[in-house]
């Protein structure tokens, strides 16, 4: 029985409840809109958004921006320090570091994005199932999360990454497949408290399906804190990719990634004599993560109703 009161405005799904506040007849501001408004007032968060956007543009248009193909060797120009010809200098075979840095960002950022997507999908599914249905499902999912959390993620990632072939897919599966416990806990907690609220009881009384209650009624309220969580997951994924590649377990050379460019610095001679080989990828990695953290912090503060901004 799913009878809906057909409203004259033509939106039958959402019965509009007009709350009259003193001196205001406007519709109450939605949670997402309110979060966005508060977010845009945070100066560091804006710096983060602009910085990250610049980084993404550099990486996406790397092939257009580069001045030399990133894999092109030029032995006559090998080991040249940063200058007019090669902005960031060249490596031991004369490959242009600027080109390699912006191309390396492609691997780093796309692995981070894909891993975050995977982790968020797993986290939302498990979290919503555990929090909404409770009971046995909750018990199983919570125990499973506890078990996964028992070992530090880096330990399992090292184990997996060393046993699986070195590839983009391995990195994405390993990083994404182990980053979800935080998301599960967050989503589960939100669902646990939201499912007891009146609007969910009302939706249940209207005979709406579980699917509809989960996706249309509860999920929108989880989005704001979830987005903050997502940005921290992105930051961690970038660092994890760089870390695994640094240990020689990431994307295999000659394809550049920030992590495997940093790996060059494990060679003492390169560390000492060619600092321009490892400084650019370090700066790009740190800046990107810093921008992402600015955004994440801004979103978390904006989504937190107890926070006065």
């Amino acid at each position: 029985m799913t009878s809906q009161p057909a409203s004259p405005t033509g939106t039958p799904d959402r019965p509009t409840v007009v709350v009259e506040l003193a001196g205001s007849r406007a519709r109450p501001e939605s949670l997402t809109r309110r979060t966005l408004r508060r977010f845009l007032r945070n100066r560091l968060a804006i710096v983060g958004v602009i910085g990250l956007a610049t980084m993404i543009l550099l990486v996406v248009f790397a092939s257009q921006i580069e001045r030399y193909p990133y894999e092109q060797m030029d032995l006559r120009a090998a080991k040249s320090p940063p200058g007019a010809d090669h902005w960031f200098g060249t490596d031991r075979t004369g490959r242009d570091i600027w080109s390699r840095t912006i191309h390396g960002g492609r691997v780093s950022l796309s692995v981070a994005a894909a891993a975050t997507l995977l982790s968020t999908v797993i986290g939302m599914t498990l979290g919503a199932t555990a929090g909404y249905y409770g009971g046995k499902a909750d018990w199983i999912i919570s125990r499973f999360t506890d078990i996964v959390l028992t070992l530090p993620p880096i330990v399992i990632m090292l184990t997996l990454a060393s046993f699986l072939p070195r590839s983009l897919v391995t990195l994405i599966v390993v990083i994404g497949g182990l980053s979800w416990p935080g998301t599960v806990r967050l989503v589960r907690g939100q669902f646990l408290s939201l499912r007891e609220q009146e609007f969910v009881t009302a939706a249940r009384c209207l005979g709406l399906s579980h699917r509809r209650i989960i996706f249309v009624h509860i999920m929108p309220n989880v989005i704001a804190p979830l987005v903050a969580m997502v940005s921290f997951t992105v930051g961690n994924a970038i660092l994890t990719e760089a870390g695994l590649s640094f240990l020689g377990l990431g994307v295999a050379p000659p394809t550049p990634s920030w992590g495997n460019m940093l790996e060059a610095a494990r060679n003492l001679q390169i560390l000492r004599e060619l600092p321009w080989m490892w400084i650019p990828p370090s700066i790009f990695t740190v800046l990107t993560v810093l921008f992402v953290n600015f955004i994440g912090d801004g979103l978390r503060d904006a989504a937190d109703p107890t926070m006065v901004l």
């Binding site: 028992t150 070992l151 090292l158 184990t159 760089a242 240990l247 940093l262 494990r266 740190v286 953290n293």
Partner: protein
Amino acid sequence: MFKYLIRRIVVSIPVLISVTIIIFGLIELAPGDVVDNFINPEIGYSAETLEAIRERFGLGQPAPVRYLKWLGNAVQGDFGLTYVSGEPVLAAIGRRLGNTLLLMSTALLVGTVIGVSLGVFTALRQYSFWDLALTTLSFVGISMPAFITGILGMYLFAIEWKIFPSGGMRPVQRDPTVWDTLHHLILPAGILSLAYIATFMRYTRFSMLEVLHTDYVRTARGKGLHERVVIWRHTLPNALLPVITVIGLSLPSLVVGAVFIETIFSWPGMGTMYLDAVNAKDVPLIMGMNTVIAIVVLGANLLTDLAYGMIDPRIRYD
């Protein structure tokens, strides 16, 4: 209290067993034959020797049987022999554990003392110059991974300025004195502590600010109590409660070690040993280390909860 302790330990056992099953399963799912790792390309191999190795390590049996055998021995404290060095797994771990504990406990101690102090300091001077400067720095601190701070620290302090040695734990030519060990320890431990300082400072500052804005602190001030009493007696103990959880959560890193810093500074600890173990696919060593790590993590969680109960009288375990 005692009953609570027993119950927690009993609950931990299935978790511990599940962890070992998962790790065993992951290794098992990996492509390739473990015996291949024993082949030395310089020497070559014969089918008989491979069969002998398979026999010796009991690799011919199906995976569940091998797991149960491993579990049966592990319960009795026998984690087998490592594939690479052939010594008992626990002896190999014991040799490295001390080095990692030295490195990590120094870093954690320095990080806790400085991080918590800075957190309290900045919270008491919210929005001042020092608050803004330190808060921004802590942002950079949490965004810089250990492999970047490690490389940078090594480049500056060991190579450019030559203040500290660039790696290892001791000088090659003589037995290490206390001063030698300290000299090798300062740089990696200092770099590691940066991340702890940044994290603990942020948590302490946040938690202090939260408590400073509660009604009972306002009441304490309203009663005319000295500011020192308000801070030390009323605010700090409550503000430090959540910080204890964060510190407790970092306890496992004492054993896991910092894979990156240990690698960069060639510190002979657990992190580098684990990396060597996974690269050599040394299954007994991987299983043994994971079991030890899991026990430490579960113990640290329990310890954190107990500490919490001791400090906060509202929490009772029965």
